[in-house]
């Protein structure tokens, strides 16, 4: 037997509220609910001997996963291993708006790569924000990773160029580039990012955002993707908000893989992202 239209509307309304309450952007929630509606309309439930509620929940879960099925769960270490087999140093650019955890995440990735036996250098290409260079330097000290830096106010592209040159001459495997946080509404900064991207020619461009974002995630995603190519994402502060709906907003809008979730402020607080795990988490 099929679900009644009334029942489907009720399920969809509840799903919409559930998604929005977890901060999935309104437009993204609406799009997801439309897809789920189509699946529910085709759902056939046996009349007897089954847990109807369970079948419906499973249909909803699968429908949401279907919306993001073309986005792979990437094994980051496998990915960088493959890139490194092609060329060295591998240049990874970290970018994103203010305060979401780029610098801390770079340190975490540096920690991960060093533990895997690679050599790493940091490029302090945030030459703007107070204390940015010292912050990265302290991470470098703690991790035993060299930091290539210039002075505050220097051209970020020049820092990157120097870091890559240093890595090439010393045979270092990875260059992790820290950039200044920038608001997507600041055209000058977004143009600067475009220039940095062109000069750095990164092997990977990683967008860093936090799990606390509300509907603004949609605007951020749309604008950033207009200026630079994003290969993958890292979403931080998931420990503060495990159901962070912005994760789904970014997946649906950017359609790029999420490599990791940041789950704390220590170097080891980084977990690989798995779509199924997250959707189960979101749907409770």
């Amino acid at each position: 037997t099929k679900l009644s239209e009334d029942k489907i509307t009720k399920l969809c309304d509840n799903l919409f509220i559930q998604l929005v309450e977890c901060d999935v952007a309104v437009e993204v929630s609406e799009a997801i609910v439309e897809s789920v509606k189509a699946e529910l309309a085709n759902l056939k439930i046996p009349r007897f001997g089954v847990d109807k509620e369970k079948i419906v929940r499973e249909c909803i879960r699968r429908a949401i996963l279907k919306v993001i099925e073309d986005i792979p769960d990437v094994d980051f270490m496998e990915l960088v291993k493959k890139i490194h087999e092609e060329r060295s140093p591998v240049v990874i650019l970290f970018l994103g708006p203010n305060g979401y955890g780029k610098t801390t995440t770079i340190a975490k990735i540096g920690y991960l790569l060093k533990n895997a036996g690679y050599s790493v250098v940091f490029a302090a290409a945030d030459t703007f924000r107070a204390g940015a260079i010292e912050q990265l330097e302290e991470h470098g000290r703690r991790l035993g990773i060299k930091v290539v830096k210039h002075r505050y106010g220097a051209d970020p592209a020049a820092v990157i160029h120097d870091a890559i040159a240093h890595a090439e001459s010393k045979g270092i495997d990875f260059v992790l580039v820290d950039t200044a946080g920038r608001m997507h509404t600041d055209v000058n900064l977004m143009d600067e990012l475009k220039k940095i991207y062109r000069v750095a020619e990164p092997d990977l461009s990683v967008f860093v955002a936090d799990a606390l974002l509300g509907n603004e995630a949609l605007e951020v995603a749309k604008t950033y993707s207009k200026y630079v190519n994003v290969d993958g994402l890292i979403i931080t502060k998931v420990d503060a908000y495990p159901k962070g709906g912005s994760i789904l907003t970014f997946l649906v809008t950017l359609r790029k893989p999420i490599y990791f979730l940041g789950v704390g402020q220590r170097y080891e607080d980084l977990i690989p992202f798995r779509k199924e795990w997250f959707i189960n988490q979101l749907l409770g």
């Binding site: 901060d23 305060g99 912050q135 703690r142 509907n215 603004e216 605007e219 503060a240």
Partner: protein, 292 residues
């Protein structure tokens, strides 16, 4: 409240037309969507529209105004009132010396806002000192020290021991000796699941005894802002709010929810990364932006 402001407006206007049920429902749906996109919580949105629907069924609105604009105006006024109405927030520093402590989630903009507040009050002819008690984040001391230098404000930070309480005490002593009028105490970012950090902020509060605790909220955060504000309140009082990153396109519903949860007034907003990019909060402008 919502009902009162509505009837006040109605009594002042001549000429009324009916809104039928269907039109009302359509308009409310539109308004709901706008509020949800502004990060206002589902509960508040649905209660608000339920109240309006109940009240406005078969009622009259003024002629010459579209029903939607009229209902938006009612909601606008209600929200402005929640945010403190037309009286500007009290930003004068009443007593000297005055201790102001900033708290908030990681990365929301506390350190930058501490410097902005120092800039703001320095321009009002106060002697403002900055104290960095954050020993967790690498470079935190240096970040605030550089900002303090930029403004010309006295600064105190971790001289090497790793106890925020000790730093705060020594910082306060130094600032009081230097005859500082306003002492701004920056703290490490923290969220409600970081139990030890939440207990630390309570201990810091008990020792510092600040005259005011200002919660710093990132305008781009969604509904977690209110949940986190509520959690902070269980450890320290929240007297005022500073909303950062208003130069984004975020509509600030999360901040509005935090006001409702804490009962604290929004005093300032941050509109950029520079120390001068601070404004005294204006409820009317904030609400028109929220309502899109």
């Amino acid at each position: 409240n919502l009902i009162e402001s509505f009837s006040k407006i109605v009594s002042r206007i001549k000429g009324l037309v009916y809104i039928d049920d269907e039109t009302l429902r359509e308009i409310l749906k539109e308004i709901q969507r706008a509020l949800l996109k502004a990060d206002v919580s589902v509960e508040v949105v649905y209660n608000l529209t339920k109240n309006i629907e109940k009240r406005f069924k078969e009622s009259k609105i003024p002629q010459g105004v579209s029903p939607k604009d009229y209902l938006l105006y009612v909601i606008y006024n209600e929200m402005v009132n929640i945010l403190g109405g037309d009286t500007p927030p009290p930003v004068e520093i009443a007593k000297r010396p005055y201790k102001l402590m900033l708290v908030g989630i990681e990365g929301c903009g506390k350190t930058t806002s501490a410097a902005k507040l120092a800039y703001f009050y320095t321009r009002k002819r106060l002697k403002v000192g900055l104290v960095q008690t954050d020993i967790h984040r690498p470079g935190a001391r240096e970040q605030l020290r550089q900002l303090a230098e930029r403004i010309g404000a006295p600064f105190y930070g971790d001289p090497g021991h790793h106890d925020p309480i000790k730093i705060a005490q020594e910082g306060l002593e130094k600032m009081l000796r230097e005859g500082v009028d306003l002492i701004i105490i920056d703290t490490a970012g923290r969220h409600k699941s970081e139990q030890e950090l939440m207990e630390e902020i309570k201990r810091l509060y008990d020792v510092v005894k600040p005259d005011e605790v200002m919660l710093v909220i990132d305008a781009t955060s969604g509904k977690q802002a209110a949940a986190q504000a509520e959690a902070f309140m269980r450890y320290v009082p929240i007297n005022s709010i500073f909303i950062t990153k208003m130069d984004s396109t975020a509509r600030g519903g999360g901040a509005l929810m935090s006001v409702i949860k804490t009962g604290a007034r929004i005093k300032f907003i941050g509109t950029g990364e520079d120390v001068e990019e601070i404004e005294v909060f204006n409820p009317r402008r904030f609400v028109s932006r929220l309502l899109g």
